[in-house]
Amino acid sequence: MSGVSIGDLLFYVIAAVTVVSAAGVAFSPNIVYSAFSLMGTFMGVAALYVFLAADFVAVVQVLIYVGGILVLTLFAVMLTHRIADVRVSNRSVGRLPALLIIALVGGVMAKAVLGARWHTVAAGTPAPTTYGIGNAFLGDYILPFELASVVLLAALIGAVVLSRKELKE
């Protein structure tokens, strides 16, 4: 008898948590609940990264998504909504056309995923990835790496310029 191993069971649990929180983000009528569901999704995705033997990317995901983007999103939610009308603030319109489009796109993608014969190699034992990623960043990917710093600097300056108050003299 081929039982389900503990690792596989854990994968299913984490995948279920991730998908349910993502559904919470998409369907919750309250934007604050959506934001907190987003945290469950990000943590679940980070756990999936660990399953995929990507330890460094998982830590980066927790640091940047949960520690940065999510906090930023929550700040924006709290700054732009009066608490009184938060319940009607996350309305959805056009559900039927949206579901139609998603059924179409999702159907095609599911057919591609399940129908294609992917060329897979046997997954090796997980090893620390920081050495390889560092070499890749300073080797093959040196130009994108440097461009990324320019992009981040531009985003930093842009965000400051956009969100500052105009001083009227």
């Binding site: 998908v19 940047i64 940065g68 603030s89 309305r91 992917w118 060329h119 990623i133």
Partner: protein, 102 residues
């Protein structure tokens, strides 16, 4: 059945569909940005799954880090724009802000 590449692709597909639904139906600008984050996360799962089961080298992981970096920049700029819209219109409902509609 052991967990393999297809499992990760299916999870990623579901998250992508939910993110797309979020982007299409939400009328709150922050809700739309949340949908974009879901789509980016699903793309990242694909990158890492193919990196693990396909190539076996680090290209997928490097791309995933670039995607996370761009998502951070996008969130910072997007939310700054949302705050600017809120200061101008007192709302971030994307149907109420149609000054530029011809």
């Amino acid at each position: 059945m052991a967990v393999g590449l297809a499992h990760y692709l299916i999870v990623s597909l579901i998250i992508f569909a939910l993110g797309l639904y979020c982007v299409l139906t939400r009328r709150n600008a922050i809700g739309i940005l949340m949908g974009v984050e879901l789509v980016l996360n699903s793309a990242n799962i694909n990158y890492l799954a193919f990196s693990r089961y396909g190539s076996g080298n680090y290209d997928g992981q490097v791309f995933a880090i670039f995607v996370i970096m761009l998502a951070a920049a996008e969130a910072a700029i997007g939310l700054a724009i949302v705050l600017g819209i809120y200061q101008t219109f007192q709302t971030i409902d994307v149907e109420a802000t149609e000054t530029l509609r011809g």
